[in-house]
């Protein structure tokens, strides 16, 4: 979808109002009659028919016979040079709904010889265009040949851009008329209605711009009561506006041949002479054939160029897609391959807009502006847009027009406002107009065409090189690649998630079977050792009893280790059940539960005010149990042991510190404290499995809190943990 940003056109569409197909008259260098297709009865005729043909009344029998034969055949057009009454005339005819239109003109100067000459020229033309590649060179040959065929003072070849502005690509002349090479003609010079007609009827001739039209009589067709449609009549009288245009241009005669490429009016070959000039029907046919050959040649070359471009961009796309396939995500991949990304639409800058943000490379607008562009695109409810001047559509984008004027955007999500964009910078061009287009715009009287064809230079600003169809196609194709990429990534993620769920299940069943099967042997060892002790203990010597006790102790501690490990792994899996926890009460409970172990020890408890916490009470109990247990264990040799528990209410968390006056630890090893199986003391000094603090840290981590440890060798240890305060919105009570 190329968005055509046509200026509010200066169309002199006088045309739209002007009935160019039914002018009611013909040019008087020939004569015309309309006959009934069956009876050949004359229905209408131009007023000059007797002057041109000498005919009065009906058709001469010879012509009538030939026309009857042709009318019954399926040959599309009739053309003969034949005697009509006393005169030798070129007779042509075509079918219309209003009857057969028969046109009479003076015959070509000399019959067979001239025809051979035409064929020769056409053949030469074909050979010549076969040897050149680019369109301007072909155009140059075409205008040379047309001038040689017709003898006009100057032959031009225009091509039209998307907006209908014509540029003179080639010119051949004898300097009688001024040169228009490379000049531009505004779209309005050829009104829309004329363009349509030019697509249907490929050749027009005006031998004398100063002619007086010969009216058709009667003006309305007896068959349908409407004015006679002269769309396909060679003699069709042209609009007086056009004649005035010709006279303003200083031309007395003209002929134009349409160049149609893929069904569209690609350009025109147009011949002019200062003076009146006739071009006979055979030469016109030769020019028409030449025009068609030219059309095909241009079409072939344009397709070749497009195919080459398309192929080049496809290669870029393939390379970029390959690079993306190894990227973490496509945004990163694009950013890392900025050159390819830009090349994909032959742009200087590119951007991608997603929920995750804006990423841009090269010559692109500022980020907030890119976001704004995405919003505008979404408001427009389009899925793609290609414009060469953002400033024309959104004036405020003029601020960065120098960096980015042209925008090519494709949507990459049906749900979100996600866009891929390419930017082209402003290209300031000087355009040479044949006459000042703005002046034409200001013309008050629309029925008067422009009078000036004086060279007028215009600077075109705020516009980028227009996007080609291949650029748009490339962007479109890449959109699918990105969408596939996103889909594939989503699938991969889903697969990974499934795999994780699977692994978690395996882990769970692993730890489940450990909890059953690994504990059992230790239980058996302890059990049988006890049984042995029961039966034979008294008979055993002290060393044997010591061995037996060691067996029991070892199995017991191994069993404890399994229990601790299972507890630790379960902590990672169990869901947290948050509530308001009275930490003071919890500390009191934990202290009470420890009392039996503390008999005989002198302990000084210093418990401060403890703020309540937002936490899972069972888990915080485990934390306190472990910390208090450690404090008491490592202060075992102190008399008294001092255990301090303090709390602090911070702005977004609560903090608790447990400290003791025990053996402490070397701060150099503080980082090892919280690892599983990490112990800083020899096991015969202090028993334990090395899991307690790892468990504490895990619980605190799962609460989103922090834990730190401070210690001095022989100077006590202190552990401080914080718990985030409840976020009201997330956990309504």
């Amino acid at each position: 979808m190329n968005d055509v940003t046509t200026d509010p056109t200066i169309d002199l569409d006088a045309c739209a109002a002007e009935p160019i197909r039914i002018p009611g008259g013909i040019q008087p260098h020939g004569a015309l009659m309309v006959v009934d297709p069956v009876t050949l009865e004359v229905l209408q005729a131009s007023s000059n028919l007797p002057d041109v043909t000498g005919l009065v009344g009906g058709l001469p029998e010879a012509l009538a016979a030939e026309l009857r034969d042709w009318a019954a055949s399926d040959s599309p057009a009739f053309m003969r040079t034949m005697a009509v009454g006393a005169r030798n005339l070129q007779v042509s005819a075509h079918r219309t709904a209003q009857g057969l239109i028969v046109e009479f003109e003076e015959p070509p100067a000399s019959g067979v010889e001239a025809r051979d000459m035409l064929y020769l020229r056409l053949r030469q033309f074909l050979e010549a265009v076969g040897e050149v590649d680019d369109i301007p060179a072909i155009a140059a040959i075409a205008v040379r040949e047309v001038r040689a065929l017709t003898g006009f003072d100057r032959v031009l070849l225009y091509s039209f851009d998307a907006e209908g502005v014509g540029t003179v690509l080639a010119e051949n002349g004898n300097e009688v008329l001024p040169s228009y090479l490379n000049l531009r003609f505004p779209a309005a010079d050829i009104p829309a209605q004329a363009r349509e007609l030019y697509k249907l009827s490929r050749l027009r001739l005006i031998p004398d711009a100063n002619y007086e039209p010969a009216p058709i009589e009667p003006p309305l067709s007896p068959l349908d009561g409407r004015p006679l449609d002269l769309s396909f009549a060679a003699l069709r009288s042209v609009s007086p506006v056009h004649l005035e245009y010709m006279r303003n241009m200083g031309t007395g005669s003209s002929m134009s041949i349409s160049i149609l490429v893929e069904g569209e009016l690609w350009g025109l070959i147009s011949g002019h002479s200062r003076d009146p000039r006739r071009v006979d029907a055979q030469v016109r046919t030769a020019c028409d054939v030449l025009g068609q050959i030219l059309s095909l040649q241009i079409e072939a070359r344009e397709q070749a160029v497009r195919t080459a471009d398309r192929l080049a961009l496809k290669n870029v796309e393939a390379e970029l897609v390959a690079k993306l396939s190894t990227a973490l995500n496509y945004q990163t991949g694009l950013g890392d391959n900025a050159e390819l990304w830009k090349q994909l639409a032959r742009a200087e800058g590119a951007a991608v807009v997603t929920e995750e943000g804006v990423l841009s490379v090269g010559s692109a607008p500022p980020e907030d502006q890119i976001r704004r562009i995405a919003e505008r695109l979404s408001e427009m409810d389009v899925t793609e847009l290609a414009i060469e001047s953002m400033a024309q559509r959104w004036p405020e984008t003029e601020a960065f027009a120098e960096r980015a004027s042209g925008l090519l955007a494709v949507s990459i999500s049906q749900i979100h406002s996600n866009w891929l964009m390419w930017f082209r910078p402003e290209v300031i061009r000087t355009v040479e107009w044949a006459g000042e287009p703005q002046k034409q715009r200001e013309l008050g009287d629309r029925l008067h065409p422009r009078k000036s064809f004086q060279l007028w230079k215009e600077q075109v600003r705020l516009r980028a090189t227009p996007w080609g169809q291949v650029d748009v196609e490339s962007a479109r194709s890449f959109r699918s690649s990105i969408q596939n990429f996103v889909l594939r990534r989503a699938e991969e993620r889903a697969e990974l998630t499934n795999r994780l769920v699977e692994i978690n299940k395996e882990l769970e069943s692993f730890s489940y079977s450990i909890s059953h099967d690994l504990r059992a042997p230790f239980r058996h060892v302890v059990g049988f050792a006890e049984l042995l002790n029961d039966r034979a203990g008294e008979r055993l010597d002290p060393t044997s009893r010591h061995y037996l006790q060691s067996i029991t102790d070892a199995a017991l501690s191994a069993g404890q280790l399994v229990d601790d490990l299972l507890n630790f792994s379960q902590l990672g899996r169990a869901g947290l059940k948050f509530s308001r926890v009275d930490v003071s009460k919890l500390v009191a409970e934990v202290r009470r539960s420890m009392e039996p172990e503390l008999e005989g020890r002198e302990i000084e408890w210093r418990v401060g005010a403890l703020p309540s916490a937002w936490a899972d009470p069972a888990m915080i109990r485990q934390v306190l149990q472990n910390l208090l247990h450690n404090a008491l264990k490592y202060s075992a040799g102190r008399n008294p042991a001092i255990v301090t528990i303090e709390g602090e209410d911070l702005s977004d968390s609560t903090s608790y510190t447990v400290s003791d006056n025990g053996v402490g630890f070397d701060p150099a090893y503080a980082h090892k404290l919280f690892g599983v199986f990490q112990r800083l003391h020899r096991s015969e000094e202090f028993e334990g499995t090395g899991i307690g603090l790892a468990l504490v840290k895990r619980v605190i981590d799962r609460h989103g809190g922090t834990i730190t440890a401070h210690g001095v060798v022989d100077g006590g240890a202190s552990f401080t943990f914080t718990l985030p305060k409840r976020l009201r919105a997330e956990h309504p009570e």
Binding site: Y512, H516, F522, A555, D563
Partner: protein, 150 residues
């Protein structure tokens, strides 16, 4: 005192079996101990079929049931007992190595009467068995049946 009805011990692991029997012996209970080595055998005993087709009628005083069993596992045995209107009043004590919460929850859902995690410490295990044995085998009177007993 009511008739001493047997204790049904369901345990597949021979070492656990030996230790449990030793613990029960220490309690000096007079009840007969019937041992089933898997869930299917336990159900056969309870329903008086197959190998137990000729056994004396009557329900056991208590079933000590291991959780992990071959063929029919402990939870399944428990479920069958507790959904059987005739057997549902038989006390069932789950003995297990597992500290898994889900086993515990599932057992209570199914109507277990007690759940004992076999402690590694044999003395603790002995105490647990002793308590259970005393409570269920001796003190716990079975509810009166329609046709009475004794």
């Amino acid at each position: 005192m009511a008739d001493l009805r047997p204790i049904l011990l369901v345990e597949d692991n021979p070492r656990d079996l030996e230790l449990t029997l030793a613990a029960l012996a220490k309690c000096q209970l007079a009840n007969e101990i019937v041992v089933a080595r898997d869930g299917a055998e336990a159900l056969d005993y309870l329903n008086g079929r197959n190998a137990y087709a000729d056994r004396q009628p009557g329900d056991p005083a208590v079933v000590l049931l291991d959780l992990k069993l071959p063929k029919v596992d402990g939870l399944e045995v428990l479920e069958q007992v507790k959904t059987n209107p005739v057997q549902r009043q038989i006390p069932v004590v789950m003995l297990t190595s597992s500290r898994e919460e889900r086993d515990l929850l599932r057992s209570y859902e199914l109507g277990v009467n007690a759940f004992v995690v076999k402690p590694v410490d044999f003395n603790a295990f002995f105490e647990a068995i002793q308590d259970l044995g005393m409570f269920w085998a001796i003190l716990n009177e079975p509810p009166p049946r329609g046709n009475g007993h004794g």
